[in-house]
């Protein structure tokens, strides 16, 4: 059966950890608006072309809330981060959303992130020293990729890094598609909620130099601030969003740059390429997870097709990032590519709030690795790298390296 006759199962598996599934190119070229079947068994519409994905993501009318009765369910066990009572507490549209975004966003400005660089470097150097002490081969994910973003986001939230193992489990469960049962997800959510409630109460009693204390200090809604529960859920969201994604990206970025060692060597010879190299790995990330769902409250025309009101759309930013009509040599890694208007962080009013933080962490990690471990290489053939399965966010299970 050709692609446009069958209903494709989504997510689409790929044979190789770092390579895109062959279907993406076919979809972009022949079936840019495709019917897919989700893990829940429900149907949705998959978009893979750059212009179409950008159009839908940038449209302020549509959000990822899939709570309408005719919206698709992503997984059979409940949709965690994409649809829960938690997700509905943070305003997702209109002026309320903009207000929340600006209030929280002032902590994520490029200037604040630049001020964090020295401490990020210190953390990275310490983690790398520890990894080296244990001897090669090491796991870059466990040794550096996962701990670094956790330390950073814990600092920002004023939460002790000693609690990070608990955070890891909770955020995994909230990003669940197929890995955890509904009971496990609900239990995790409850524990996480209680932890944050206790933490916010502690910060209310004694303010610290962190995002949550500042949100508390902004007062209640009457004073232009947020409600207690909004602050709490914001904290949960920042923790989940601030570690799993970046932790995984660190592993993927380094893997991609080491998969063809001439890339690593070019960076060693010219570290001024770091910023554009990071963007290019974000663009070419073929394992970025589920993509972003959108529920269409109004009909919209996309690529010559009218999508009716009530459609659940899935936007594949990773497929769109390889669109030849937008990126010259789209399947090739160009460490100098500039401008690089990829969609890895989305676009528009709902684009990733933490993208300046993510970029800074990725740049710092790369800079410190190049400096401290110039002889870094993968300790296994690329074919042996394995993807993490069953979560909304994509990553590698381990990144074995030697130096």
């Amino acid at each position: 059966m050709s692609l446009d006759e069958q209903v494709l199962s989504y997510p689409i598996p790929s044979d190789a950890a770092l390579e895109p599934p062959a279907e993406w190119a076919e979809l972009r070229n022949k079936c840019p608006v495709a019917h897919v079947k989700l893990p829940s068994g429900d149907q949705a519409t998959l978009l893979t072309r750059y212009e179409d994905v950008k159009r839908v993501l940038a449209d302020p009318r549509f959000t990822r809330q899939l709570n309408a009765p005719d919206a698709a369910r992503l997984s059979a066990e409940g949709d965690g981060v994409f649809n829960s009572e938690m997700a509905q507490i943070i305003p997702d549209g209109g002026e309320e959303h903009q207000h929340w975004r600006r209030l929280v966003g002032k902590w994520f400005t490029a200037k604040r992130m630049a001020a964090l660089r020295p401490s990020m470097e210190e953390i990275a150097e310490q983690l790398i020293d520890d990894m080296v002490k244990c001897g090669a081969p090491g796991d870059l994910k466990a040794g550096l990729g996962f701990p670094l973003p956790v330390y950073v986001i814990c600092d920002m939230l004023g939460v002790p890094a000693a609690d990070r193992e608990r955070f890891s489990y909770w955020s995994d469960a909230l990003l669940n598609l197929t890995r955890y049962s509904r009971a496990e997800m609900e239990a995790a959510q409850g524990e996480f909620f209680q932890y944050m409630a206790d933490h916010v109460a502690a910060r209310r009693a004694e303010a610290g130099d962190d995002v949550l204390s500042e949100l508390i200090a902004a007062g209640g809604p009457e004073e232009g601030g947020l409600t207690d529960i909004q602050i709490l859920v914001t904290g949960m969201a920042l923790l989940v969003a601030g570690h799993e994604t970046t932790a995984n990206m660190i592993g993927k970025m380094v893997s991609m740059l080491l998969a063809d060692r001439s890339r690593w060597e070019r960076l060693l010879a010219d570290p001024s390429l770091i910023r554009t190299a990071v963007e290019e790995t974000l663009r070419l990330d073929a394992n970025s997870g589920f993509g972003l769902p959108r529920y269409l409250r109004d009909e919209i025309e996309v690529g010559g097709t009218v999508l009716p009101r009530g459609t659940t759309v899935v936007c594949s930013m990773a497929a769109a990032n390889r669109d030849e009509s937008v990126f010259e040599g789209a399947e090739e890694m160009d460490l100098r590519r500039s401008p690089n208007a990829h969609l890895a962080f989305g676009v528009g009013a709902h684009s990733c709030l933490g993208q300046a933080l993510a970029r800074t962490e990725l740049q710092v990690v790369l800079e410190v690795l190049l400096r401290k471990l110039p002889s870094l290489e993968l300790a296994v053939p690329v074919e042996e790298l394995e993807r993490v399965e069953g979560l909304a966010v994509g990553g590698l299970r381990t990144v074995p390296v030697r130096w």
Binding site: R102, K106, F108, T109, P339, A341, A349, Q355, A356
Partner: protein, 66 residues
């Protein structure tokens, strides 16, 4: 080159600041873009075009008229 920014479209992502910090900054109280130079010098033109191209809010307009 003349640069303008639309505060309503800005989502506070900060890419412009990372790419061209001499031309763009963000407001302390809400992270929204502040234009530091509305007619940046020629040595900044490439960076400003890149910032405009990648802005997730499409909030930066660049025109070549003086």
């Amino acid at each position: 080159m003349r640069v303008t920014v639309d505060e309503d479209k800005c989502c506070g992502a900060g890419q412009c600041v990372l790419i061209a910090p001499e031309v763009f900054d963000q407001r302390e109280d809400d992270g929204i873009v502040m234009l530091l130079e509305h007619e940046p010098g020629e040595d900044r033109h490439v960076a400003v075009r890149e910032a405009a191209a990648v802005c997730p809010g499409a909030a930066i307009e660049v025109s070549d008229k003086a």
